[in-house]
């Protein structure tokens, strides 16, 4: 790997179907080395199928996929020594303890020297895990922690995390975010699949949104905000009318209170009218990812169950 301009993951027009169900229908995804990339989509959009193809667990029907410069199907063994993976649904061997599983996964991933015992211990303490308990006795959140610690304790250059915080409590979610930030500092690449938007918003350098097995949008959050509307809430001295203004949506006027969404191009004109009516209080905020997401998915519901 040479510097930040190479891509850790490069997927073009990826297709995969299971019988008559089409899971992926021409998906594109580019993850640059050293970035934290959020991979967003509702349930059944094809996130897990994409990850399983990248891991060489599923074969692709069409398109191209490359991972760390290699072919995920052909070079699976060599590539897997350089990545760590946390599945969305963590199932563990019920008779093994958490500590044993962490060590087992770490040593299966690479040479034993790569697992730093101090780092392992620090992570176990940070996530407050009891490593001597049998996996059968762990809650969903604790199973998730075992998989996360095993991945974070490794020296892999790429982390693939499939909905990693499902099941974690808010405290542990905060710990997880700190850990991902640390990994970014250390120059590791992270692919973070999620449907929790606040998580992507807090962590991701760039975002890819998929729907129905196709890429809906990709870019930095700043780039995406160009395409979107800000939300304006205002308390005015006199009632105001925004009728006939292009670029104003979902306007609600109750007496002297105004709530609306405004295209960036129309923002100046709206503010001019508001000032004319006398502004008492005003908030104007850029869209959250939640709102971006709703815009993509509220009109058309995604098809059911594209997961295998």
């Amino acid at each position: 790997m040479t510097g930040a301009m190479t891509n850790a993951i490069e997927v073009r027009a990826l297709r995969k179907s299971f019988g008559r169900t089409t899971a992926l229908d021409g998906l594109d995804l580019t993850v640059r080395s050293g970035e934290v990339h959020a991979f967003l989509g509702p349930n059944g959009a094809g996130k897990t199928t994409t990850i399983r193809i990248l891991l060489g667990l599923l074969s692709k029907d069409g398109g191209e996929a490359s991972l760390l410069g290699g072919d995920p199907w052909r070079d699976a063994g060599a590539l897997h020594a350089r990545l760590a993976y946390v599945p969305g649904d963590v199932t563990l061997w019920p008779g093994l303890t958490g500590g044993e599983i962490i060590d087992l996964l770490a040593s299966l991933r690479g040479p034993r020297s790569a697992v730093d015992p101090k780092r392992r211990q620090a992570l176990i303490e940070r996530f407050a895990l009891d490593p001597a308990k049998k996996a059968r006795a762990y809650s969903k959140g604790n199973r998730q922690k075992v998989a996360l610690i095993a991945a974070l304790a490794s020296d892999a250059e790429l982390l693939i995390l499939d909905e990693p915080t499902a099941g974690l409590d808010p405290l542990m979610e905060a710990v997880f975010r700190e850990c991902v930030d640390d990994e970014r500092q250390r120059g590791r690449t992270v692919l973070l699949s999620s449907h929790i938007l606040a998580e992507a918003e807090a962590l991701a350098d760039r975002v890819t949104i998929i729907r129905d097995g196709r890429t809906a949008e990709t870019g930095t959050l700043a780039q995406m905000r160009h395409l979107t509307r800000s939300t304006v809430d205002a308390e005015l001295s006199r009632p105001v009318s925004l009728d006939g203004l292009p670029g104003v949506h979902a306007a609600e006027i109750r007496g002297t209170h105004l709530h609306c969404e405004v295209d960036h191009a129309a923002l100046n004109e709206v503010l001019t009218r508001l000032t004319a009516a006398g502004v008492v209080a005003l908030t104007c905020r850029p869209p959250t990812l939640e709102e971006l997401f709703l815009r993509h998915y509220s009109s058309e519901r995604a098809g059911p169950g594209a997961r295998p």
């Binding site: 891991l55 060489g56 074969s59 063994g77 500590g99 299966l108 001597a132």
Partner: protein, 537 residues
């Protein structure tokens, strides 16, 4: 809300989930018995022919050990002798799988938790599973009686025969219900119930084969022995049906008592904390995770090994009294002397129990290979295959445990039988060596059956579990019933065990063993190659 609330809904759900498997079990058991009675009738049409079969077979110690004692020479009595005990075993296995599947397996998978949060009583799932088992045995009884009467057998005897089989099946449904409360997982629960079934078979076999003066009362301790003592088509001892029914009632009462006491998801023994770090052995070689495969499978193997050692020590010990079964018939004695005299009879008996060891070891090998499929569908293969472990390495790790375990079990069978027989005759050294060789001669055939499981797992993963057990079932049927039914040669040749020399006694021929070994190797290689090419999950 009572403890039984929701039982009806759960039973309907169970019927819905088993709508294919359950009729298949009932149909196959009925068809096996009906078609076998039909062909017995064709093969031995006259009373004289049956009397000859009864006279030789009914006194042959090896056959008495395998099938039980004969109580008459009518067509019905011969059918009941030949298939009664084994039909009861198959019907009991049906009940065990059924009950565990709807109780402990669902609980372990977390499905019962989802159901239990609804308006469902604490005993509902257990009761629903038992209801389904009762329905299945009632259906089996009705079908069996209808089929046997249709074949022209007496109605009363047919009813006694069918009930002898199905009440035994009910008793094991109850044993499974109890096991599901004792063990914390579906796998150990099935192990306990099938272990009890194996012990019942052993008690009956040793009791029957021990002859006059031996511990023949052992048969009375076994539910499978009761099916024999009911003596359908000769005495029809209806009152003995009370024994399996009372056993069932007692086991169900025990299961209910435990189900009320224990926590959801827990067994009777609490989990102890384990190591906080993995041993070097568990970390295993990275490309061939043997440590993990061994760790996952060792408990099951220990259980099988204990069962093998005990079973074959007892069977070997029973070999000494074997001649006394021949009784005073001078004619029979002459016939057997021509076959090799006392030594010949004993060897034939020992060879029969060694081929039984081979079949049982094939069952172990199949289950050990199918562990791969369980790991895959349980999503536990995913983290390994996403690490540097390749598919072939992962597959081989479990296949290696299966091969090692099969060899270990057969060696245990040989040594135990050799000690059991040798210590009573004062020639332990020679017998152990002789029987160890005889047991290990089964290894290639057992592994060939396991090879078929590997191939199915690679090629048709979704059908691999049902497919592999069907292969094993066909091999068992050919081995146990192929000769007496005079099946055509090519059909017999399909089973690997047809080609194994009948040791001890017969001459050792290396080529068939070599070919079987190569077949096992080729099947495994083909299966692992197919595994490399398919989708996982």
């Amino acid at each position: 809300m009572t403890a039984f609330a929701g039982t009806g809904a759960l039973a309907r759900l169970a019927f819905r989930r088993d709508r294919i498997m359950l009729p298949a079990w009932v149909y196959v058991i009925t068809a096996l018995i009906a078609s076998n009675s039909y062909s017995l009738n064709k093969l031995y049409p006259s009373a004289a022919a049956r009397a000859a079969l009864a006279g030789s077979g009914g006194r042959n110690p090896a056959l008495v050990f395998l099938y039980g004692r004969l109580s008459g020479d009518s067509l019905g009595a011969v059918s009941a002798w030949r298939y009664g005990v084994w039909a009861a075993i198959f019907a009991s296995l049906m009940s065990v799988f059924l009950v565990i599947r709807h109780t402990r397996a669902d609980e372990e998978a977390g499905r019962l938790e989802l159901v239990g949060s609804a308006a469902v009583g604490r005993l509902a799932a257990l009761t629903a599973a038992l209801l389904v088992a009762v329905a299945a045995t009632v259906a089996l009884t009705v079908l069996l009686v209808a089929a046997l009467v249709f074949l022209g057998l007496p109605a009363a005897g047919s009813a006694a025969f069918a009930l002898a089989i199905t009440t035994c099946s009910l008793a094991f449904a109850a044993v499974a219900a109890l096991a599901a409360q004792l063990a914390a997982g579906a796998r150990p629960a099935r192990g306990i119930a099938i272990g009890v079934l194996g012990a019942a078979y052993l008690l009956r076999a040793v009791g029957d084969a021990s002859g006059a003066g031996g511990p023949s009362w052992l048969t009375w301790l076994s539910p499978l022995g009761w099916t024999e003592f009911i003596r359908p088509y000769s005495e029809n001892r209806w009152q003995l049906l009370a024994l399996p029914l009372a056993t069932a009632a007692a086991a169900v009462a025990g299961a209910y008592a435990l189900a009320v006491l224990r926590d959801h998801g827990a067994g009777l023994l609490p989990d102890r904390p384990g190591r906080a770090a993995a041993s070097a052995w568990l970390r295993g070689p990275r490309y061939l995770p043997l440590g993990l495969a061994w760790r996952l499978q060792r408990g099951t193997l220990y259980g099988w090994a204990a069962g093998f050692a005990f079973t074959f020590a007892a069977s070997g010990a029973a070999a000494k009294g074997i001649g006394s079964l021949l009784g005073g018939s001078a004619q029979l004695r002459t016939a057997f002397t021509r076959l090799g005299g006392q030594a010949g009879i004993t060897d034939a008996y020992l060879a029969a129990i060694m081929s039984l060891a081979g079949l049982a070891a094939a069952a172990y090998a199949t289950s050990a290979v199918l562990r791969l499929r369980a790991e895959e569908t349980g999503d536990r293969a995913e983290p390994l295959l996403a690490a540097a472990t390749g598919r072939v390495g992962w597959g081989l790790s479990h296949v290696a445990v299966a091969v090692f375990g099969t060899a270990l079990l057969l060696a245990a069978a040989g040594v135990a039988a050799g000690l059991g027989y040798g210590l009573r005759t004062g020639s332990a050294g020679t017998e152990v060596a002789r029987l160890l060789g005889a047991a290990l001669a089964q290894l290639p055939a057992s592994l060939a059956v396991a090879g078929a499981a590997v191939l199915l797992f690679g090629l048709r993963p979704a059908a691999s579990v049902a497919g592999a057990w069907t292969v094993l079932g066909a091999v068992v049927v050919i081995a146990l019933f192929g000769q007496v039914l005079r099946l055509s040669g090519w059909l017999l040749d399909l089973s690997p065990f047809t080609h194994v020399p009948k040791l001890p006694g017969a001459a050792v021929t290396a080529p068939p063993l070599l070919w079987l070994g190569l077949a096992a190797l080729a099947l495994t290689a083909a299966g692992l190659t197919a595994l490399r090419r398919r989708d996982i999950g």
